[in-house]
Symmetry: D2
Subunit: 320 residues, 4 copies
């Protein structure tokens, strides 16, 4: 192991830079060289990279985004592109490649691993927290707090106007973000794609709350549940509530990472470099039962991470 | 002058509570009693109010929203409702009424002033900053900073993904919020309802920026300019840019007020109480040329506040 | 189990209110009544309490501090005071008591448990994170992020002025806060009471950094390491560095809790009520290996929680 | 006018980078070249500078600190050093020099102006807001908000523990920062160097507050008033209050500038470049009566800016 590559791929997440910094510095302390591939898989396909050194990754631990840039790269599904990437690794004698990203990136990494001898290790970084093999991904805690801060502000205006707000948060097809955000803002209702909900049930809860003297309500909805605009109208029609919709946008993907996202980035980086040094590839690192660990890349790609339904039930008790 | 009333009306704005607190405490130091009318004009129509004391307004200077709650009250356009409000003031011997709100509220206040002898003073509080007679309204600085913080985060992801973002901010039919936000986030383009723009011009600027090496751009658009969703699609079709839209929502209306919004609230409150003590009503207080002053309520209602177009030109120079 | 009491004791920590809210609402969903004792142990000694209901704990999940107030209560070491507290529990038929606080509070709780049949459960809430039996306490994550945000700002001025900053953070006699803060701000040096350090070593690192081109440095020091003022002077004398000291103050103890502190508060509350319902007392709840669990109160009081020294070593690699 | 220089000097202030960016871009739009001198006056003395271009100042509007770095430079009081700086300007054909800084920097600029034909314009940037000729300096609004956010957090713990806090804020020998911070956090007492205070008066106010039911108090003290540690002890001795001291540190000087600090930076930059283009030097730009204006450099240096004592009186009414 003499040279390792780093690439950030897919959607960006706060803490990716902290991971790049940690990987680079830990690698150097082990006498490895580090190449940073630019713009996701495109950097591997087109052989665009730059050396990363302990100094060149200084001052980025607190920055959102990724200094290596990132792209969604649909063409990376084509065999020939994957082979070009494998060639780049081969030509540049990259012994190990660390892929920082989410599920989509890991699927790409799995394909790539079949065409190359370079050891590949995945570092889970996505605000969606939907990677099997880790309880938490880099960036998740930051996105949660960004959404929570927003909703705390929205609650001011919800209370002043005695309104019901539907707040749509990100999370793609999954409800991890919505669930954690919902429970920590004290949402009256949390809607996630993993659990079917009856609209009648929502109407009922809102009416009961109103009878109890709760004049404003917050509904946190995952983007994956479908058309929140329509839902807002239906609630307005079926209850006495004045309903407003707020779709939290791309700010959830940016911003300075929280301490926890930075720490996770550092710990994952450490584990990833150590795995490569031991000659172990085709794995992703993760946090499991409070410890930094790793599982097979393929298993992560092929298993759906379950949502904690007990937490959802607790949330509904807490919203009484 | 023995008893004054306070009401918050229309959309809420951060700093309304700071104004309520300041009015109450200044009034008490002048041996006045203070009645807080609840839920906007409805509190006047239905005679719902509570006494406010220096202690009961403690601990609210930093809170968003309004402890008096607020409603939009379309029925307040009906003469009989206005008369009921006037009666409430009369029955409760309210010598002066301070109305905290924006343009809509001041129009209501003007109508009300024609039916009552109670002196009425307006305190401008709206995130839209569109009240004639004041350079700045309570809540504007807070909303600007909320939007700026969001867009700083969005820029992280814009840069990482080399994308163009349209960020829609509030402001109703006016561009005050968009202009100040746009210049302070360093937006490449600012779109306000007051200035017609050619789509071709936007395409051109984005292409020039791209040629200059600016791979990501932020367009700040006021909600009043029309359909930003459509605009995003058109830009995507006519340039090489990958465009995303983010609509900043109701968080702009909430949150803890900035120091400036709190200070303005305190200074406006002081002026409003002083005007009442001097027996001067039917005015709104304001900040003009750096000083706290007042103008006639009717003049404020009937004059459109101009947008500073020089600032818009400066913004475009700064975005080079 | 029909009535439970809640008390917050010792230093306050962000998330205590979220815990009070969660305990109350979960208890009510189990048909328990809840009494909130005021001002720490004093409320038990002097029988000052108020009923808590699902409505009376509304709107506090995001508030720092504790609505029950808290005191350090040195007199609670006297037997007669403890007996008075036990009497209060007895007289008011309090079947279970939940004590929200840190080590000091739990020692009091242990004493109290010897004088009463009321079941006692501790919920760890302290920014110091020094409670044995839990990997994390309520408030810790918030305090870490508060300190990190401050130090991110200090780094701006450190870099601009090419200075070395010693930043002293809280943590009493332990280094948990300093360690997590230090690694997540990318501190060049972290000083904790658990690890002896040679001043010569500090001088050497700073000189090496300077030679490497690092013109500014951040040293994060736990308050427990001794006189940082003196240390600053010694560093200035023994290196070419211009040194400034910044002691982060009580803001670390306040502020709106982070999502994680709120979540932990909710999970701990749930576990605490469940323990009482099962008739299990004299325990504290905690987070261990990523799961909510509990250990004996006495064991928690008598065991020192170890600091993760591997993390300290990782920090020094990352600071290269 | 073909080439202008920019230098940041003295203590850094948030918004300096926004000013550098704006100066550079406005200058380029006027076909001027821009040289950035590094590390304050040292850059002029030792002829260390780099060209600044619209692209090289991209992405810094939101950054604290100064990309040009800054030093306090006591040697700049010596004639020969000033002459060396004048020589540098001459050799590099710098037609105009914009000095971004506070009073100390402007005194240096005044000295320099006597040794050179280069036109000099000052742009006031200091968190102390103590520059005569402008109602507000770049960075002031940011520092105020940083302090306010801190104190809002401290109030949580003050209320929970029913304590009195003295919070010392920066401001050197003046009370501008303390006054604005004090009024906007709702401080019970504000202490500034400009107004003598009797300790007995403080004791009396605190006792009265306690009698009124205010169990916690915040005293905001300017660093210029003297030994706050001693004051804390004296208050504790002479009242029943439990007193804590929190000295807000260097974070007040860093952090991302607020919208207002960024806007002021842009407007000042515009005015400064315009003055140079008109051949007017030896002035400082400023905000007066709500408009961007300028006064003579010498007058600014030799006049003490008055503190608004009416605001202090208002603060004491608001604290009732």
């Amino acid at each position: 192991m003499r040279t390792i590559g780093v690439v950030t791929s897919g959607g960006d997440a706060p803490g990716m830079n902290a991971a790049i910094r940690a990987i680079t510095r830990i690698a150097y302390s082990e006498n490895l060289q580090v190449l940073g591939f630019e713009r996701g898989w495109e950097g591997l396909i087109e052989s665009k990279f730059r050396p990363l050194t302990p100094r060149s990754v200084g001052g980025i631990i607190q920055s959102g985004g990724t200094i290596l840039h990132t792209l969604r790269c649909p063409q990376f599904k084509r065999k020939e592109m994957i082979r070009k990437a494998a060639e780049t690794l081969d030509l540049n004698k990259v012994d190990g490649l660390i892929v920082i990203g989410g599920n989509g990136s890991f699927k790409g990494a799995l394909e790539l691993s079949r065409e190359t001898d370079t050891l590949i290790v995945g570092v889970p970084a996505t605000i969606d927290n939907d990677v099997f093999g880790t309880d938490e991904t880099i960036g998740f805690d930051t996105a949660v707090n960004t959404a929570v801060n927003e909703i705390d502000k929205i609650r001011d205006t919800a209370i002043s106007h005695e309104r019901t707000f539907i707040v749509e948060v990100m999370g793609r097809k999954r409800g991890f973000l919505a669930l954690t955000v919902g429970i920590t803002v004290g949402a009256e209702i949390i809607l996630v794609p993993e659990v079917k909900f009856e609209k009648e049930e929502i109407f009922k809860i809102l009416k009961e709350n109103s009878a109890k003297g709760k004049k404003s309500s917050i509904i946190v909805a995952a983007e994956g549940i479908g058309d929140t605009r329509k839902l807002a109208k239906e609630i307005e029609k079926n209850t006495a509530a004045e309903v407003r919709l707020s779709i939290l946008g791309y700010a959830q993907r940016g911003g300075s990472p929280t301490a926890r996202s930075r720490l996770l980035a550092s710990l994952f980086a450490d584990k990833a470099v150590k795995l490569l040094l031991k000659g172990r590839g085709n794995r992703i690192v993760g946090l499991q039962k409070g410890r930094i660990t790793s599982i097979e890349l393929e298993k992560s790609c092929k298993t759906e991470k379950p949502l904690d339904l007990k937490l959802l039930r607790l949330a509904s008790v807490l919203a009484t």
